[in-house]
């Protein structure tokens, strides 16, 4: 395992996966569940497998870690053929997360996370350190959560621990089977954002099965759209699938509002934010007002000593004040810089200012996003999707789409 732990590697710690000519036939069934699929999954990317239920996407996923043994074909992890190695040994090197986390209810959070390291024979100290590190990674305070049992956690927290457990031995590949299916929409959105944050840090190769196309668009670097028998209908970036669905099947699967869905492709941090006049508690209100007038801004953002926004004052409110207070306003329209434009639009539509405050790392104030910015982003997204239609962007895309196409012809010929 140690040669694959690349915690100090600068960028990608994931390995590529190659599924080559893999077929799964169940005895007594006429058509194979998975029909001669060849799929290359580039290292360090998130690849979403989507399709209607029963299309074979989950079977495909489970053949990567050989929870389901392929009838024919090869599975290659990195540059190692893993088709015939011991299945248990293989699975210890691949993280696996299922709906609701699949935690063992009779074990504490720490014990759940340390199962794989224990099987790999790590010493106690190393395991304990790793558990704390992972809990921090998934935003759970180790001191508070280490000794809890799964039933003492919310659904979202269980899911986080499930991710931590899958990452315990620092596997290069993470497989997730409908990971966010069992949580409420708000928690799901938060968990998705968190997965993206973790991925930014770790750069694993992640394969996620989902039936939710919006989730696929939000999380995926690449999306594989399956029809029955795990036939690949389209393998492309989310942008291009939205802009140029391969056929009617994909169009139907995308559903209505493809334009709006493009909003989930762009993150708040990627668009240009408007700057704002900031002030600190204790400043004299009239001076702040003068600054706002000079900058031709109608609002002033009050930030605390750690640069976190606490109030958002209008000029009118400022005229009534003598000094800026340190009161923390309860319902500020704040979005994180990793939130999608869709989320941002949502937030600003309910805020009285028609805009939202954007915060970055550790909730530091970055700037303001308004409806005009979002509109611009939509326009430019359309333009860029049209442009990228002829020239695939990214280094894997040409290669990958060729394989995807050849597989399509190959598998339909079978």
């Amino acid at each position: 395992m140690s040669e694959t732990t690349t915690s100090d590697a600068p960028n990608i710690s994931g390995k590529s996966i190659l599924i080559e000519g893999v077929t799964k036939r169940y005895p007594g069934q006429k058509s194979p569940a998975v029909d001669g699929i060849t799929l290359e999954i580039p290292a360090g990317k998130i690849v979403m497998l989507v399709g209607p239920s029963g299309c074979g996407k989950t079977t495909t996923l489970k053949m990567i870690n050989r929870l389901i043994e392929p009838t024919e074909g090869r599975i290659v992890l990195g540059d190692e053929d893993v088709t015939d190695i011991d299945g248990d040994e293989l699975r210890r090197r691949i993280g696996y997360v299922i709906q609701a986390g699949g935690l063992f209810p009779h074990l504490t959070v720490a014990a759940n996370i340390s199962i794989v390291p224990k099987m790999l024979g790590w010493d106690k100290k190393r395991i304990a350190d790793r558990v704390d590190e992972l809990l921090e990674l998934v935003s759970l305070d180790p001191a508070d959560y280490r000794d809890r049992y799964p039933k003492e956690l919310s659904g979202g927290q269980q899911q986080r621990v499930g991710v931590a457990r899958a990452l315990a031995a620092d596997p290069p590949v993470l497989l997730m089977d409908e990971p966010f299916g069992a949580v409420d929409p708000i928690t799901r959105q938060r968990l998705q954002d968190e997965l993206l944050r973790i991925q930014e840090e770790l750069q694993k190769t992640i394969v996620i099965v989902t039936h939710d196309f919006d989730e696929a668009v939000k999380l995926g670097d690449w999306i594989v759209v399956f029809s029955d028998g795990a036939h690949i209908v389209q393998y492309d970036t989310p942008e291009r699938i939205l802009a140029e669905p391969a056929n009617e099947f994909v169009e139907n699967f995308i559903g209505s509002g493809a334009g709006l869905k493009q909003l989930t492709l762009r993150r708040v941090g990627e668009v240009e934010l408007a700057d704002a006049v900031t002030a600190r508690p204790g400043e004299v209100a009239s001076e702040v007002l003068a600054r706002a007038v000079a900058a031709k801004h109608n609002h002033v953002v009050v930030v605390d000593e750690r640069e976190r926004p606490i109030q958002w004052l209008t000029r009118r409110q400022l005229t009534r004040l003598e000094k800026i207070t340190a009161v923390r306003e309860a319902h500020l329209p704040v979005v994180g810089h990793r939130a999608t434009l869709n989320d941002a639009l949502d937030t600003m539509l309910v805020s009285s200012a028609g805009a939202a405050l954007v915060t970055g790392k550790r909730d530091r104030f970055l700037g303001v996003i308004d409806v005009e910015t979002v509109m611009e982003a939509i326009t430019s997204a359309r333009a860029s999707a049209a442009a990228s239609a002829d020239t695939p962007t990214g280094t894997n895309s040409g290669e990958v789409s060729i394989i995807a196409e050849s597989d399509l012809t190959e598998s339909s010929a079978v």
């Binding site: 870690n65 248990d88 699975r91 696996y96 299922i98 935690l103 099987m119 049992y149 799964p150 497989l175």
Partner: protein, 213 residues
């Protein structure tokens, strides 16, 4: 009654000890066997239902008849007593083992396999601990049941409180005969209560806080 207890105190204590020892050892043996058999059959639907049928039929066999039958191959004394008590003790435990193991959430088993636990490790570290409260329920039922059945073992000159009951019954109407029967009976009931308390305590100690209700 009190006089009888006082005058036979040593014998009563010895018999009680023998009785309890027979039951506890047979129960331990039966638990091992039943959990072993349960672990072998629970993943096959047909084997599980076969096991269930056998336990159902087994429980209808009159203990007294089985004890008598056991004399031919096993003779008198401890061997037939152990065989019969263990046989009956296995039945409720086996049934609960199969129920408990098949009741484990398949998602949990899948995630155990998915993170690289072998079949055996999954069984020992995940499935059995999760099924344990149900299995322990079976052990408690077994304990109560075989406490009484062990008394019948006295028929083949086995150890325990059954001796007091049988000797009393055989000379009913004679001096101290009723006292002897009652002492045996009450002794069995008290032992059964103590065993159940011990098993409840064992359950507390051995069931993870995470799955306690």
């Amino acid at each position: 009654m009190w006089d009888f207890v006082q005058s036979h105190f040593d014998q009563i204590v010895f018999s009680s000890w023998q009785h309890a020892s027979l039951v506890v050892q047979c129960l331990a043996l039966a638990t091992l066997l039943a959990v072993g058999i349960g672990a072998l059959v629970y993943r096959s639907r047909s084997a599980s239902s076969a096991a269930n049928t056998i336990t159902t039929i087994g429980l209808t066999i009159p203990a007294f008849a089985l004890v008598g039958l056991a004399i031919t191959p096993l003779g008198f004394g401890v061997p037939p007593a152990v065989a019969v008590v263990t046989f009956f003790a296995i039945l409720p435990i086996l049934r609960n083992t199969v129920v408990g193991l098949t009741g484990v959430d398949p998602g949990i088993v899948e995630s155990a396999r998915g993170i690289g636990m072998s079949r055996l490790r999954t069984l020992l570290q995940v499935e059995l601990p999760l099924a344990w409260p149900v299995i322990l329920g079976g052990i408690r039922v077994s304990g109560q049941m075989v406490m009484g059945i062990a008394a019948v073992a006295a028929y083949v000159l086995g150890p325990g409180l059954g001796g007091l009951i049988f000797s009393g019954l055989s000379r009913l109407g004679g001096a101290n005969s009723l006292e002897s029967v009652l002492t045996g009976l009450i002794g069995v009931v008290i032992l059964a209560l103590i065993l159940d308390l011990v098993l409840i305590g064992l359950g507390r100690l051995t069931t993870s806080r995470g799955i306690r209700v």
